[in-house]
């Protein structure tokens, strides 16, 4: 009997990390909140390990300490980077609830009215600009369905094209910056958020460009799937010339003043070009409000302001004026201003945005806390060594390993949101990726590293590339039938006349486009690495 017990003891001693993962897999499917499953398993495993004299009770102190963060650890609390998350959530929610998103879609429809498939194209463009909105897959898909599906169906768009466009455009938000997922990834992989944002920009635009080209082709070849709008549908009042000149005048004056001021002795006082940009931003919103519901008014108050806001947020990160956290705060403030200009900043809007932001923040960070507890215990029972041993045991080439990891993430994407995948799986994969870095040097167009500094630089590059591959991969996974969970939310919020088979058929071309996009990023890493290099230098 004692032999038996000691055999169990020895077995557990080595494999407790593996059992933690097994238990996690089982627990998640009971449907308990993911964070509680993570926390519960880590505390129970820690108790078992303490009982075996494997760990001391100090493990619990270590957990709370790591949740708190500080000392360069990527904790939840003392971590200036993560402050960006509630701000981005607030900004996205505010743009949605203050109907800025809705107005944007409307003006895009008007602008693209003569282009074949104009409605579907406006959804794609809106998905690209509004990628920031919430960044939580389910919420984005439901929002886009509510805004865009009925108008498309009513104008005779085929349900397959309409639903495919909506699902694909709504999930762009996890890739195109400012994306919450990229903030979390950068934090976990210990790389720069700004750099990752810039890296994701081109791949994101390539994907939305692919969608755009596909919709345009389908609408041109088969007009029955995307009939053009009737001329009578959009009746535009003539716009007032004076307002156009007012806007152009203010904008030009702003830039001219900025040009001369930055050449004068006042050059260093403030960033004059930024001021000119803000003046243009303000003029657009205010003149647009004066102009009202004409084409000019729509462009000035519906199209430019959200576009300028995103440009301001991303531009100030890329230009190095602001950290991502500061940019997020400025973006959140800007979204309040937009709502105010839009005359939708009521007490109810504010309350509902604040409540929703609080709940979404809680949702993201509770998983963060649970995952921190889990990974602390996992590391202390040498779980990471188990994984590395397993990988070595498989004896795969780095390329094969990369494909295995990507496929695993793709499968996980069927069941889990990006939160669980980024927070639980990425920390496990990160050391593997870092280890593979030298092999990928040639593929990334870099020389094999010869010093520690060069190795670190190379590892960072590989991680940027890998993070973007994961983002595109996950987006594909969320769209792939029959499990893809963007489709589930789409079906749930679409009118019941839309059938699941139509959604499946509609999404397949987009999944193929996604795979093409993934292949492009895989084959040409410079797509993700070139722009950051230009902006920041190496």
């Amino acid at each position: 009997m004692t032999e038996f017990l000691s055999a169990i003891y020895d077995h557990l001693f080595v494999y407790i990390g593996a059992y933690m993962f097994l238990a996690l897999g089982l627990m998640l499917f009971t449907g308990i909140p993911v964070a509680i499953a993570l926390g519960g398993i880590s505390v129970i495993s820690a108790l078992i390990a303490i009982n075996m004299d494997f760990l001391g009770a100090s493990i619990f102190y270590q957990i709370v300490n790591r949740i708190f963060g500080g000392d360069g650890a990527s904790g939840a609390i003392q971590n200036p980077i993560l402050v960006a998350i509630p701000c981005f959530v607030f900004m996205g929610t505010m743009l949605e609830k203050s109907r800025v998103a809705e107005d944007l879609l409307q003006i895009l429809t008007v602008l693209l009215r003569r282009v074949p498939g104009g409605l579907a194209l406006s959804v794609t463009v809106m998905g690209t600009i509004m990628a920031a909105t919430t960044g939580i897959i389910g919420a984005s898909v439901v929002m886009m369905t509510l805004l865009a599906l009925a108008p498309m169906l009513a104008r005779g768009y085929s349900p397959t094209l309409a639903t495919g466009t909506i699902a694909a455009s709504a999930t762009l938000g996890i890739l195109i910056p400012p994306s919450i997922m990229l903030v979390l990834m950068a934090n976990l992989l210990a790389v720069s958020v700004g750099n990752l944002f810039i890296g994701a920009l081109l791949p994101g635009l390539v994907l939305s460009g692919l969608y755009f080209a596909y919709i345009l082709t389908v609408a041109t070849l088969r007009p029955s799937m995307a009939p053009p709008l009737g001329e009578h549908e959009i009746d535009l009042e003539p716009y007032q010339r004076s307002n156009l000149f007012l806007f152009l005048g203010i904008t030009a004056a702003g830039w001219i003043v900025a040009f001369f001021a930055s050449a004068s002795h006042l050059a260093d006082a403030v960033n004059w070009y930024l001021i000119a940009f803000l003046v243009m931003f303000g003029a657009s919103a205010l003149v647009g409000r004066r102009e009202g519901n004409t084409l000019l008014g729509g462009i000035l108050k519906g199209f430019f302001p959200p576009l300028f806001l995103i440009v301001l947020v991303l531009g100030s990160i890329f230009a190095g004026w602001a950290t991502p956290t500061e940019a997020a705060g400025v973006g959140a403030f800007g979204s309040i201003l937009l709502a105010w200009v839009n005359r939708t900043l009521t007490w109810e809007t504010m309350t509902s945005v604040v409540n929703r932001t609080g709940l979404t923040t809680a949702m993201i960070f509770f998983i963060f806390v649970g995952a921190t507890a889990f990974s602390t215990v996992f590391r202390n029972v040498y779980g990471e060594d188990l994984i590395i041993e397993l990988i070595e045991h498989l004896q795969l080439s780095p390329w094969a390993l990369l494909f295995v990891l990507m496929f695993a993430i793709f499968l996980l994407g069927f069941f889990f949101d990006f939160l669980e995948i980024t927070l639980i799986i990425l920390p496990v994969f990160a050391p593997i990726i870092r280890g593979m870095a030298p092999t990928f040097a040639a593929h990334l167009g870099m020389d094999p590293p010869t010093s520690i500094i060069e190795t670190q630089a190379l590892e960072a590059q590989v991680i940027y590339w890998f993070a973007i591959l994961v983002a595109v991969n996950l987006q594909t996974s969320f769209l792939t039938p029959p499990f893809g969970f963007a489709l589930f939310y789409l079906k749930g919020s679409a009118p019941s006349s839309v059938k699941m088979t139509e959604i499946y058929r509609g999404i397949i071309p987009f999944v193929i486009l996604q795979l093409i996009g993934l292949a492009i990023v895989l084959e040409f890493p410079s797509l993700a690495l070139w722009l950051p290099e230009v902006v920041f230098g190496r």
Partner: protein, 223 residues
């Protein structure tokens, strides 16, 4: 059973009040970031504050940056509880959806007692230790010019986990009443529980809204 229900109601109330109040911290957070960014980008204010740092030993910018994550700490920790009560925490719902409501309740009750409570109790106990250690050392900021009194922000973890425990206990009490109370009590408990796949309800509301929108849009398109 009625006592349990009213205890649950009290805990629920505390959790919701704290959670809703903490949600509003996002506004001061945005204001602090804006203030910091603007004052650092304009020469006059930057120089003014730099001089101020030299005389008083407090850097406004460092304090503002510390302030950001202090506010964020309370925002994120104090909303866990309300997030659980409102059922916004992520669940993997695939199999749960297939279960009857009663077995969902039994499973949730079991898992709350076996998994959530040990976790929460451990976190409450050790975050209390984290707080008291900091308090006894009178811990300050790492940077000379930052915000002092580090124990204030460390208390956010303790308070947050206590509030989350309140939410868990309230749900445990209601689930017990829902499973084993009289018919009337069961109904009352059920009305107060939001943990049963409410995502489905939200989706249903969204679906009805898009049905209405479709009819409306069709009418518009015909004119």
């Amino acid at each position: 059973m009625d006592g349990m229900l009213s205890a649950a109601r009290a805990l629920d109330r505390i959790t919701r009040v704290v959670g809703k109040t903490a949600g509003w911290l996002i506004l001061p957070l945005i204001a602090v970031i804006m203030f910091d960014v603007v004052t650092r980008k304009i020469d006059v204010t930057r120089l003014y504050f730099a001089e101020w740092t030299a005389t008083s030993g407090i850097s406004v910018s460092t304090v503002m940056q510390d302030m950001q994550w202090h506010l964020h700490a309370f925002l994120l920790m104090l909303t866990f509880g309300i997030g659980y009560l409102a059922n916004t925490h992520v669940r993997v719902d695939i199999f749960r959806e297939m279960m009857s409501r009663r077995s969902q309740a039994k499973l949730e009750l079991f898992l709350l007692i076996v998994f959530a409570m040990p976790f929460l109790i451990a976190m409450v106990a050790y975050s209390w230790e984290l707080f008291t250690v900091s308090w006894l050392q009178n811990e300050g900021s790492e940077s000379m010019t930052g915000m002092g009194a580090r124990y204030i922000v460390k208390s956010s973890m303790f308070i947050g986990f206590v509030i989350m425990t309140c939410a868990a206990v309230a749900t445990i009490l209601r689930l017990i009443v829902d499973l084993y109370g009289s018919t009337r009590q069961q109904q009352e408990a059920l009305d107060e529980l939001q943990i049963f796949s409410s995502a489905a309800d939200e989706l249903e509301a969204a679906r009805l809204a898009s049905e209405r929108a479709l009819i409306e849009e069709k009418r518009k398109a015909r004119h």
